[in-house]
Amino acid sequence: MAAGCTTEGLADALRAAARVISEHRDELIRLDRAIGDGDHGENMNRGFTAMVSKLDTSEPASPAAVLKLAASTLISTVGGAAGPLYGTAFLRAAAAVGDAAELDPPLLAKALQAALEGVVARGKAAVGDKTMVDALTPAVAAAESVAVTGGDVASVLAAAAEAAEQGAESTVPLVARKGRASYLGERSAGHLDPGARSTALLLRTFAGSAR
């Protein structure tokens, strides 16, 4: 979001995210192989690659349109648990931003909040269940407190990324209660949750784009 949270800024942030996901594909596969089925990196990479093609061929006219394009591409290409969850997150964010031409810090925080609500509505996970919710929940809280105290878009996203990274790390000792890792019971402890890791990666990329 070199150009801020404009239509173009959002599209650039998603392109950057696609590059980061592709760089971290193998890491996400490795994390998911340990406590899941080893496809998270491949799924996310497939989805974000498809998203970049769509961004290249269509011209979404508003921030909401960019977010909707992201949502529908992820839903129709990722599959697995992550597809509908990230898809819903982007869909709810799109609804939250309405027809704004640019997201200011409060609207950005609201969009992040809506994304989290979407993930929870679909996946029914709470903090501590060892999922992406463990990264997204503290990220939303941090974004809000920076936005409320007058921080700019860059600092809102930086705070969100920082909190998401800590939230992701916090999943390591947890015993999973949602998703595939929950089948492992106690054996899921001692591993980083792949979805929490991808959430942290996305937010860190968005923060980098906004600087």
Binding site: D39, E42, G80, A81, G123, K178, G179
Partner: protein
């Protein structure tokens, strides 16, 4: 990783092309989105029975498309649930005016994607019901898990509901029948080796020469416990006892016993295990009236097996025996 493939990214589409070539009389395969449809779909005034899930479990689900079983199957990427557009396309392609029943294995991804598809199909004007199968007794169904997984019971469910739909049972009837089957089918599996997902390139876990994974699912994941391998006389009861005690199955019950291979275990071992399971059930006074032995719901090349027990009554026996003509299951036709 040694596999007979070209590119990990195109494995599913490449295999679908081979399936289409192998069964031109039975299947109509679409590629974008990927759906395997029975050749004579839509069948007018018949409930469309649709399932799907990640690929890598062949013959499940595409191998069960055809007369008397599934109308369509939606193959996701390997071990990845399909996307809603695949399911939506399957519904659109098979809707004969009597609605569609979605058979969903209980995994977060499958449940969420089929849920979205059902919402979309409702918008398209098709009446859609979903049932979620969760027959794996290795997982406790509690607040602390995503619930039990759908495993071997899925094959039996698809056969029985498919037979009912073929006979003209309506959507309510098919749904009720599906819930009945789900209520009385239980499974458990073990792995002697891991499998390698093509895009991952490495085995999902590594076992020592004297270890196995007990209580596995069908996605190459480790099981509930890593335990020493024993002789078949110990392995079979390690699967069968938890199954019998879970429902529970009791003396005098009539059952279907399904001895399933995980993909890399040869038939000679499956038959050997099946023989032991039959003897153990006989000792408990449980009467095996029907059986299925073979690799029907697999995890790529994983070595291992699962057992499934379905409680039977005359209705279910009659539906099990009804004619079926699919690539992987065929009789009476």
């Amino acid at each position: 990783m040694k596999k007979i493939i070209n590119d990990p990214a195109t494995v599913v589409a490449d295999a679908l092309r081979g399936m289409a070539a192998a069964h031109p009389d039975l299947l109509d395969v679409q590629y974008d989105p990927a759906v395997v449809v029975r050749a004579d779909a839509p069948v007018s005034r018949k409930v469309a029975v649709i399932s799907g899930g990640g690929s890598g479990h062949e013959p499940l689900h595409g191998g069960f498309v055809g007369r008397g079983m599934l109308d369509a199957a939606c193959p996701g990427a390997v071990f990845t649930s399909p996307t809603p557009d695949q399911v939506r396309a399957a519904i659109a392609r098979t809707d004969g005016g009597a609605g569609a029943l979605l058979i969903v294995k209980n995994y977060t991804g499958d449940v969420l994607n089929f849920e979205t598809a059902a919402e979309l199909a409702a918008v398209d004007g098709v009446e859609v019901r979903s049932v979620v199968i969760d027959d794996d007794v290795a997982v406790k169904d509690s607040l602390y898990t995503a619930g039990r997984r759908g495993v071997g019971g899925t094959v039996l469910l698809e056969k029985i509901v498919g037979a009912a739909a073929e006979r003209g049972v309506d959507l309510d009837g098919c749904e009720a029948l599906a819930r009945k089957v789900i209520g009385q089918v239980r499974s458990m599996g073990l792995a002697l080796s891991a499998c390698t997902v093509p895009h991952a390139g490495e085995p999902s876990f590594t076992l020592a020469d004297d270890e196995m994974e007990l209580g596995i699912g069908i996605h190459g994941e480790p099981g509930r416990q890593r335990v020493p391998v024993g002789p078949a006389s110990e392995l079979v009861p390690a699967l069968l006892d938890p199954i019998v005690e879970d429902l529970p199955f009791a003396e005098g019950d009539r059952v279907l016993l399904f001895t399933n291979g995980m993909g890399g275990t040869p038939l000679i071992e499956l038959y050997l295990a099946h023989g032991i399971a039959e003897r153990l059930l006989a000792e408990r006074g449980i009467v095996v009236e029907r059986r299925l032995v073979g690799p029907y719901i697999t995890s790529l090349e994983m070595q291992g097996m699962s057992l499934t027990l379905l409680k039977l009554d005359d209705e279910l026996i009659d539906l099990w025996d009804a004619p079926v003509h699919t690539p992987a299951l065929r009789w009476g036709l």
